[in-house]
């Protein structure tokens, strides 16, 4: 009990004095997850929108696949990426294993199906609402996509934030492909796992605070966005 109390106090000081290790790890976390978010969004937002408005041969199959991928355990994703990137794997020549790039790749694989799926859901509803009007006005495909993306922008942002939340809190996959190397691939979640194992509760807790603050921040954003959606201020 005492350990935890002392841990809390020193964690507090680590945060308010902007401890160098803490800052470095937090920034790396943000860098990896934001990169993954941008890449995943670029892939998933158009994909989800496209799936919502176009009928094509393997549409249902694609959607089922997407939903199945969403349920992939991150650890398994980590394992697969590890095998692909390891020295003897097909992409071994690039030497990406145990680099932040490998972690970004793993996170992109984890969150792309999630963002695409939420996007698809939201865009499908909007398309059902708009369908008759946009057909009647003789809109081109491109005009339809532009209209849907613009009018559904809040839902799309919510989808992206959900992806970011999943990425920043993920530990299994990036532990495997990043290796949790000090000054190279150590991020908030993997550092917490390590410090807790070592019994250094102060650093672990301080890292936990930052992670929680980020998670709460994201949730406030999502909440605020869905509120402004109802009131329609932007």
């Amino acid at each position: 009990m005492n350990d935890i109390y002392e841990g809390l106090v020193s964690a507090f000081w680590l945060v308010v004095t902007l401890d160098q290790d803490l800052m470095q790890i937090s920034l790396r976390s943000l860098q990896v997850s934001l990169s993954a978010l941008v890449i995943a969004s670029v892939l998933a937002l158009p994909l989800g929108t496209f799936l919502a408005i176009r009928r094509f041969r393997y549409r249902r199959l694609t959607i089922s696949l997407l939903n199945a991928l969403m349920g992939l355990p991150p650890v398994v994703v980590g394992l697969i990426v590890y095998i692909l990137l390891s020295r003897s794997g097909p992409f071994g020549v690039f030497g990406l294993l145990f680099t932040p790039t490998a972690m970004i790749i793993a996170q992109v694989i984890i969150i792309t199906p999630l963002i695409a799926s939420i996007t698809h859901q939201a865009m499908r509803e909007l398309w059902a609402e708009y369908h008759d009007l946009l057909i009647s006005l003789n809109t081109s495909n491109w005009q339809r996509i532009k209209t849907l993306i613009w009018d559904g922008r809040r839902n799309l942002l919510t989808a992206s934030l959900a992806g970011f939340g999943r990425a920043i809190g993920e530990v299994g996959a990036i532990m495997i492909v990043g290796g949790n190397i000090d000054n190279a691939t150590r991020v908030l979640t993997t550092a917490i796992a390590l410090e807790t194992g070592k019994g250094d509760f102060a650093l672990a807790l301080a890292l936990g605070f930052v992670l929680i603050a980020l998670a709460i921040g994201i949730n406030i954003c999502i909440h605020w966005l869905s509120r402004t959606e109802r009131e329609g201020r932007w």
């Binding site: 708009y130 008759d132 009647s136 003789n138 329609g232």
Partner: protein, 237 residues
């Protein structure tokens, strides 16, 4: 500018899931006036209107305008039975059809202001359209349909659920459009309105045109027993 009419429906039928919703229908719409489509619920009025507008897939038959399909589509507007509001402001909803055509901004703004005033929403241009009342949404949908100055305007029960004053507003807008040579085809359940506006009328029953004629004969001397019963307010089997 030459008119896109007449519209000719030939042997048109619409089937969905093995059920015949419409047809066979043969019908020609002449260049002028207001055609009123009446009939009981589920008789196929909306389906017929959508067929004419070209947004319903035909199972058999053809619908042809006097000009090529592509051109005809650009010169007609449609107001749906339940108004569809874009999740945008009143001004952006009104201007949307013009912006699709890349109309200059000044022209869009001028027309938006004109129509907002006409439907009494000039003070709510920056309000989200989804927050308007049901009647305001119907007026907005009508104004949005007219903002491109279409040759042909389709209206599916534009005055359903409206009070007397709003109904008068809408009828007055329609009269103006008629006097500017807009061809109107609409449905209604309000027989008074049908009499006030129609130059000719179509009675739909069980997916077919049961009776059709110029307004004077249609309302004054209905030929079929079913239409006479419909006017009396009887329930038609």
């Amino acid at each position: 500018m030459s008119t896109i009419l007449p519209l000719t429906l030939k042997d048109v039928a619409v089937r969905r899931r093995g059920k015949r919703l419409l047809g066979p229908v043969d019908l020609t719409l002449d260049p002028d006036g207001l055609t009123m489509i009446i009939g009981p619920n589920g008789s196929g009025k909306t389906t017929l209107l959508r067929v004419m507008h070209g947004v319903e897939r035909l199972s058999t038959g053809t619908a042809t305008w006097a000009v090529p399909e592509e051109e005809a589509r650009h010169r007609q507007s449609y107001v749906f039975q339940t108004p569809i509001m874009l999740r945008r402001t009143v001004a952006d909803n009104l201007g949307y059809p013009l912006r699709l055509l890349n109309a200059p901004r000044a022209q869009v703004n001028a027309r938006v202001r004109h129509w907002a005033e006409r439907i009494g929403l000039a003070d709510r241009l920056s309000l989200q359209a989804t927050r308007l009342s049901g009647g305001e949404k119907q007026k907005l949908a009508l104004a949005r349909a007219l903002i491109r100055k279409p040759d042909v305007l389709f209206l599916d029960e534009p005055c359903a659920n409206l009070d007397g004053a709003s109904t008068r507003d809408i009828e007055s807008i329609l009269q103006t459009a008629l006097s500017e040579k807009t061809r109107i085809i609409m449905t209604t359940h309000d027989l008074g309105q049908a009499r006030r506006l129609a130059s000719d009328a179509v009675f739909m029953l069980h997916g077919v045109v049961h009776e059709r004629g110029p307004a004077s004969r249609f309302f004054g001397a209905a030929q079929t027993a079913e239409l006479q019963a419909f006017f009396r307010g009887d329930i038609i089997a």
